[in-house]
Amino acid sequence: MILKGAEIVVKTLIEQNIKTIFGYPGGTVIDIYDQLLKHSDEIEHVLSAHEQGAAHAADGYARASGDIGVVLATSGPGATNLVTGIATAYLDSIPLLAITGNVGTSMIGKDSFQEIDITGVTLPITKHNFLVHSVEELADTIRLAIKIAKSGRPGPVLVDIPKDVQQKLTEYVPAAPVEIEPLKTASDADVDAAVEMIAKATRPYIYLGGGAVRSGAGELIQELAEKIDGVMGASMMGLSEVPVTNPRFLGMQGMHGHYASSIAMAEADLIIAAGVRFSDRATGNTFKFSTGATKIHVDLDTSEFGKNIAVDLSVDADISDFLTKVIAKLDQKKNEAWMVRVDTLKKQEKSYDDPNFLPMLAVKAASDITTADTRCVTDVGQHQMWAAQHYDFTEKRTWISSGGLGTMGFGMGAAIGAAYGSGKRSVLFTGDGSFAMNMNELATAVTYNVPLTIVLLNNGVLGMVRQWQTLFYDKKYSNTVLQRKTDFVKFAEAMGAKGYKATNIEEFKAAFADAYSQEGPTLIDLTIDKDEMVLPMVPAGGTFDKIIVERSDK
């Protein structure tokens, strides 16, 4: 059938099983919005308050569902407002399709109204991007963009569509949903080499990251841990792939990781790294990182091998395929001394816990009340680390947080997207700093009655930077004390959401139980002390033996 480009955009998305998109209208996407209205029974559009919120929502949708997220914005400022959202998805390898309108092809390069070279701007933060020159290539470009975004190591792809391309007519031929490129499989040589390394190991540690989540390898990783009598730890991006109820799982490692997890990693004689990139936040000083361990690195992206950490065996394959083959060749191992050592570390870790530490109590209380399939979303800062440390993840893809880019303001959009992507309630842990960056999206949550409970840990300061100022900058608190007079409960009410105030754990528990049982968005403003710290802490570029476990002033 002969259709206008704008209708081809919408029909192609529908044909590719895209059910929900997030976006914001403007001059160069009016034609597409016109078609979204026409096809609103087949595809749902969620209108955000700001394009950044829409980009984070599409990202949150992808993280919660495992499918691609789609965001639509107009040219110029609409497109540039997506940039932080696209970069966030890029650093965490999240499949995202960003569609932007642009001025007509004859107006490009003339500094026309709301014209920006968005393919140029997003070049280093997309897996690939396209400027569509003709309506004839439009449908196939969108299909290819989806394929690239989802294949191999996923990532964001942007398609920029000039207005005249949207208005021109051409034949539209529906196509089946694209199939992703087949994932690479592990070679016999790699499997045998790994089996040999495992046989020699007496202190094995499996280190899982975002790639393990992408591969859905949680069960296989637990099976491997059992068989090699080893333990598991996760980068921040790997959380929720393995349930915290497995006693072999020691939790997040790294700068603010669990004590037992970080120390066990430093003491291990074999590290099996699955879908990680050895980020500086996870390794500390790369030259002194686990120097005694043999390292096996499995990833779909060969450029990760040796990029940050030299490894002994790099396996260019899908994690699940590799693990399946390795497990089949392994005999049951017994590493009693290692298990005893890990138990000691766990006990030591417990002894560092302050039973009255309010941020921990709040996260644990929320975690106790929420259902297992609730999406735990965060912004960026101290609250993020407390949630990562103390929330009990038992189901996959329930942890949604900006890892690589560390985007303050990620949470509101992402929590909305996560609720759409999962069909479940989202709980957002945020701080007064991060929340204020994109709190406009509470309007969106109210409009669509999004099932969302916001836990705002309010300390009146930019806590994470303050913590560094306390520890490393002589307590000179430059611009981290927020002398604001924001009443977040009134704010929530003004936006049409229900607000609660809590100042201690009992009040918080009562507020959370009520807030979580509501249908639409709710917000709890929990006052915490401005000098609370995220511990343990391995200072940036430090080594795991220099881990700080307790506040020196306590």
Binding site: T119, G120, L123, P124, K127, H128, L131, H133, I148, D301, T302, S303, F305, G306, K307
Partner: protein, 167 residues
């Protein structure tokens, strides 16, 4: 780790913006390119980008892996040290003084260069060769007064019957 000068040949789709995508990767990852040459190839749909740069082993692996990830890149190959033929083209405009003219001409002859423009005040010469030869020629011309020079950067091909694409 010791750095060594390598030449990388990259076959890319001959499309709008592809050169930017390739060079942007080098910028983003903090690598410095010494020379870069782009041109059409035996296949009209592909262009060949030839890059020369100094890298250590880890950097070399990283560059090749990152190039291979770019959607428009079809083939990446490091030109073999032994098998590689590398050439640059130099165009150089030098002052034409009666006192130095014969010295310039001697040099042109010794290097098997060509004089391609001649007038009372200047002469322009053309030279093909590997980077060392080009550098030596430029050094020789310096005392005579170089007015302007330009060079193409290295292009390279491997000896033998095989093409890079079929490797």
């Amino acid at each position: 780790m010791a750095k060594k000068r390598i030449v990388i040949a990259v076959y890319v789709e001959n499309k709008y913006g592809v050169l930017t995508r390739v060079t942007s990767m080098f910028t983003r990852r903090g690598f410095n390119i010494d020379t870069l040459a782009v041109g059409e190839t035996e296949i009209p749909e592909y262009s060949r980008i030839t890059i020369s740069m100094s890298v250590d082993e880890i950097e070399q692996k990283q560059i090749i892996d990152q190039l291979n990830k770019l959607y428009n890149v079809r083939k990446v190959e490091v030109i073999d040290d032994e098998m590689g033929i590398r050439r640059e083209l130099l165009l150089l405009k030098v002052k034409n003084n009666p006192e130095t003219r014969s010295d310039v001409k001697d040099c042109v002859e010794a290097f098997r260069a060509k004089i391609v423009d001649y007038n009372a005040e200047s002469l322009c010469l053309e030279l093909t060769g590997d980077t060392n030869k080009i550098n030596a020629m430029i050094d020789n011309m310096k005392p005579f007064g170089i007015i302007e020079l330009c060079r193409t950067g290295v292009v390279a091909i491997e000896r033998g019957p095989e093409g890079i694409l079929s490797k």
